[in-house]
Subunit: 301 residues, 2 copies
Amino acid sequence: MASEKWDQDKQTERNGLPSRSKGGEKMISSIAELIADRIGTMPAGERRAAQTLIASYPMIGLKTVAEFSATAGVSSPTILRFVARLGFQNYPEFQSSLQDELAAQLQSPATRTLNPPSPGGGTVSPMLEATLDNMRETFRHLSDGQLADIAARLVDRRGKTFLIGGRFTDPLARYMAAHLAVVQPDVFHLAGQESMWRDRLIDMGKRDVLVIFDIRRYQDSLARFAEKAHQRGVQIVLFTDQWLSPIARFARHVIAGRTAVPSAWDSSAALFVVAEMLIGAVTRQLEAEGAKRIREMESLR
Amino acid sequence: MASEKWDQDKQTERNGLPSRSKGGEKMISSIAELIADRIGTMPAGERRAAQTLIASYPMIGLKTVAEFSATAGVSSPTILRFVARLGFQNYPEFQSSLQDELAAQLQSPATRTLNPPSPGGGTVSPMLEATLDNMRETFRHLSDGQLADIAARLVDRRGKTFLIGGRFTDPLARYMAAHLAVVQPDVFHLAGQESMWRDRLIDMGKRDVLVIFDIRRYQDSLARFAEKAHQRGVQIVLFTDQWLSPIARFARHVIAGRTAVPSAWDSSAALFVVAEMLIGAVTRQLEAEGAKRIREMESLR
DNA sequence: CAAAATACGTAACATATGATACAGCGTCCC
DNA sequence: GGGACGCTGTATCATATGTTACGTATTTTG
């Protein structure tokens, strides 16, 4: 009776990561980091391979060399040179390493939740941390109800929607306008000279909504504009920072986002996220009509 | 754009699970369930294979038939009969299916976390969760070093900086341009008609940097532009999504942000945050000169 | 208990897959 | 502007890998 080992294969003395021998260097604990570390020293083709792998990490690396090379748009040998440069003896060894890493990840979902404790030198991590905190804080003070109200106001299509922003926040207004305009008519982004938008005031009335982005340092021109719009009965939705732009006084809805980050600039990321959610909420509510509209629009392109 | 399922992975028409043809039967959505369903009807050897796979699911299934058979203590043909009984045509097909399953899991970490749907049928929270996850994921694959490299490239002021974006991402380009233009000269945002920017190509050369934002659906016009710029030796920095815009091919640096959220739209929030960090990094490096410049600018206002 | 059917492993086979040699091309440097 | 170097793709090669055929062992059934 064959009590021996079956297809006994040479029992892979599975190596972990390739030798990062020297002391004093930074700790490399995953292939992704290894790549990030060396991507700077790679030639163009291999860098494409690296980027492709990182983009859908690590799945591509588990497929065959041929598939990998195809998605990366390079030849097979380039892929092999790439893994060789990472320090692996051959492709299967590289794949094994990826699998081990995956296995470890799957077993401890905890490690997925947050980044490695962020080494001291990291100039990025503190900023990322701050940004994430900002978002949590922003949403702690922002209920679903409020967002739903605003979304409802934007959906209620008896009037028009105008959007405008300040020096650095105008792109947010544009971003929101670009999306809203797809799902509903009468969405206008106010750009250009102050005199330009002031003239649009004449088109605005009670049933219209004006979305304003204004963070420090608040711009007088925006405040003036907001006041006039308010006088005409326009409903104002204000995106501002935690210190509240003076426009808050005229606004029907105020969204106060946290903006503090360890940088010379304030961060608009939290406001950006709120804007995206509003876009999402509006789109969802318009699903029925919106779908038709979107199809029409597609056929026009 | 709109109306696609949000975590929909482009490629892989790859057969999902084997034919669970009949209606009325219980839904099988993973290979693990499929096995649990059929393990009762399997002969001894295949059952050992099944148990082995379940025990360290799904890693063993990604290895070779030989390794699988060895760990299960059966012969290779038994493994093959096992996967055949599950309904797969051959072993590679079985592996692909496992990989797809894994990829789906990895891409929506939110679902792993098993968060209670949050009070009030909140439409907001899942989106916030997804957004935060996107950021964590994005930065997991993005090292300080890479950002520093790109920042250095932007700081190295022997050339000009051009920024451009797609239909919905152009505001990001604007946002970044607005900030960079404050701390350094020769920053240009390319807007308007395609013909407008194409004419600017003539000003671009080896020492210049072109920052492009391009996410699904990728715009041909941007790709054409990128290619021409690349031919002129312009250094391209690409902000894209995890599926990589075709422009990645020409890019010197690629930043792949996660964009999947439970909404009809893709989210650019992660890219926005990266952009802010880049702005911060550049500003920091230019501190000395920058401070002077900013003071000058202040006095001009 | 005998005979048939099923299950399983051994060994040979075909091929998909990774590895290598080499030549063309672009780039950098002198 | 010319020569050397390095990078990349094509074509070829070796082999690891999945697959199949077949004979033996085991279980099932009348």
